[in-house]
Amino acid sequence: MTRAATGYLVPGRSWLHRRHPLTKLLGVAFVLVAAFLLPPVALIALTVALAAIAVSAGLVRPVLRSLRIPAVLVASIVLVNALFYPGGSDVLVAVGPLAVTREGLTFGVVSAGRLLVVFVALMLLLMTTLADDLLEGLVVHGVSHRIAFVALSAMQLVPRMRDRVDRILAAQSARGLAVDGSTITRARALVPLIGPVVLSALVDVRERTLALEARGFGARWGRTAYRVVPDSGLDRALRIALLAAIALVALTALFGWLR
């Protein structure tokens, strides 16, 4: 069972856990920019770097386990591109009308690699950061607390949704709904599942709105903070370095210097 308050957090005291949430957020931003703007070779460097970070923070197992989440998406990106990439001419393997082309396979692997690298960076952030710390970290740096709260809700969305889907799945199968079996059975089971998921999510939003209003979240005057998120000189230096790196990558891509 995942609790929304802690989400994917893996409790610990590693150097990565102790970094300021904004530093880690910028790290994810850097990986995102580098993965998509730099030539594919950069993916190898990013993978090595992320692996080193995961090892040093003692998060190898949880990260590997989390890879199940995008597994289907990644596999289908590789497969679809390998088979149907437009303009692929260098055929590697052909079975009947289906042919795997070198161009398609390359494109598929690179696209999937980009997604995976960003996914792992994001998981490293979520596994080492309490959602609430991220919120306070953003507010301290001038982000409106309402916007920060939206970011927080987004972080909690997946665990909350998963809890809800599990509950509804149980309730509907108790009414005789077949939830496993053939593809057609499963497709037919979707309506009685999606209905309650969407409706209860809307009810949930209403109840949360009331609860937040009751606690004065709608007030417009100066807010104070209970939680103190430690920020060190090292963090500030890292953030400057990351910002510079992001700018450099963006400029490099802009002028096409590497081409």
Partner: protein, 468 residues
């Protein structure tokens, strides 16, 4: 002296509803007074609570005429800032009121103070004082999500009280609590009253209402004198059964451990005869729901066996068990999705392979039992939560189960609703069916069931029915 709350000629009309929720209602509450609001489902009690807390029409949209004044502030037109710290509201469902993002109870309480702009240095003393006053100092460093419902509700009240409102509004604060949690909340309200807080409390629970200085009863959105006459619910009969027999249940040294290591059931043995009515009572977190989920295969034993009609549940899927076992869940939101009550109730029997006139009969019988024949065409989401719960019960009855399992069927029901659920239990047993209900309401268990099984810390203690 100026009243803490003054309501004059208040009429509230929700969009797309024919009848107003409140009609020309006037009420004044003096500072320090404790007023209980009683009344049936749909009488307008929750609307009154929301209006008194200044959430109508600012947060909950409705057409409003009349006035609501909290202290000196016009609550109908005030901004959030103007009401902050003057009035606070607590709702029925404990978990939904917590922010959901705080790792400790202490930080949960700090959330309101942050919004008030209280300096960091003053927060801890204020939090400690409130936790001590409310008798929950021991919870300060616990994770809110790991607390029992009763504990969470006390934390929810504490997080409103920390903000220091002069007027505290509560909307059925004990509806989802076990007797122990209800007692704790009642004691807590006594303490707040003694300290001078003005309290407006919507409740069904007699014990809570009796401790209020004065009670006001609502009916049809108006204040009425005395208790409104309500139609007594006579015995019901299950009309659609085709001589089907009840199922037997055997729990044989059942043990269950959740993947996170928590041992929820230890060595539970229980025999339930066909046609027997058994209530399972116990505090929140004693393993009642975990036990019930084994009866329909949603959980599988980690040790021991569960037999329904003499057959182990291990090798049968949930859908296969649904042919025999009808399970009504605690939260109606998990089951409802169709656009009308009639379609919703017909979903279960159709999944079980019933067709045509057969399904129509089952729907008729189930709607008659739950008192919903007039709501056939209504969208379930337009109904009150307690009525939606009856819709899910109707959906399970329509499956014509040999074994009916009810998880907390009376939460949120008014006395009339509780009586109806009791009559349904009686009728199903009269039709030969077995009924097992999870409940935190001992009075309900004693009145409608043959025997009560008490659960504590994952074990059962059999207790004969008093006077039987």
């Amino acid at each position: 002296m100026r009243p803490a709350l003054r309501i004059d000629g208040l009429t509230v009309r929700y969009p797309a509803r024919r009848e107003p929720a409140l009609a020309d209602l006037s009420l004044a509450i003096e500072p320090g007074e404790r007023v209980g609001i009683a009344g049936r489902t749909s009488a307008g009690k929750s609307t009154l609570a929301l209006a008194a807390a200044g959430l109508i029409p600012r947060v909950v949209r409705a057409a409003v005429t009349g006035t609501v004044v909290v202290g000196k502030t016009d609550a109908l037109h005030a901004t959030a800032d103007a009401l902050l710290g003057r009035v606070g509201i607590v709702f029925a469902s404990p978990a939904d009121q917590l922010s959901g993002s705080k790792p400790t109870v202490r930080e949960e309480l700090a959330f309101g103070l942050e919004n008030l702009g209280v300096p960091r240095a003053e927060m801890d003393p204020r939090i400690d004082a409130v936790l001590a006053d409310l008798g929950i100092a021991g919870l300060a460093d616990r994770e809110p999500a790991s607390l029992s419902g009763g504990e969470q509700q006390r934390v929810a009240i504490a997080s409103i009280v920390t903000m220091g409102p002069g007027l505290l509004v509560l909307d059925e604060p004990t509806a989802e609590l076990d007797p122990e949690g209800t007692d704790a909340v009642a004691t807590l309200l006594d303490g707040l009253s003694a300290a001078g807080t003005t309290i407006l409390c919507v409740e069904h629970d007699r014990a809570i209402l009796e401790r209020c200085g004065r009670n006001v009863t609502l009916d049809g959105g108006r204040i009425v004198e005395g208790t409104p006459a309500r139609p007594a619910i006579g015995p019901l009969a299950w009309a659609a059964g085709r001589g089907r027999m009840g199922a037997t249940v055997t729990l044989d040294r059942l043990g269950f451990r959740y993947p996170n290591g928590i041992e929820a059931l230890r060595d539970v043995s229980l025999e339930v005869r066909a046609g027997e009515r058994v209530a399972i009572v116990g505090a929140n977190g004693s393993g009642k729901t975990t036990l019930a989920k084994h009866l329909i295969g949603l959980l599988r034993p980690t040790s021991g066996r569960v037999l329904v009609d003499g057959v182990p549940t291990d090798d049968r899927t949930v859908q296969a068990l649904a042919q025999t076992v009808g399970f009504a869940f605690q939260d109606p939101g998990d089951q409802l999705f169709e656009r009308s009550v009639e379609r919703e109730v017909g979903f279960g029997p159709r999944r079980l392979g019933r067709t045509g006139a057969d399904v129509a009969n089952l729907i008729d019988a189930a709607l008659t039992m739950t008192g919903l024949p007039g709501e056939r065409a209504t969208n379930p989401y337009d109904l009150d939560r307690s009525v939606r719960k009856l819709v899910t019960l109707a959906g399970v009855l329509a499956m014509d189960p040999a074994l009916l399992v009810l998880d907390e069927p009376t939460t949120g029901q008014d006395p009339e609703g509780v009586e109806r659920v009791g009559r349904i239990v009686e009728a199903m047993a009269a039709a030969g069916r077995t009924v097992i209900a999870i409940t935190h309401d001992p009075a309900f268990a004693d009145r409608w069931f043959d025997r009560t099984v008490v659960m504590a810390a994952g074990r059962t203690v059999d207790r004969p029915r008093p006077g039987a």
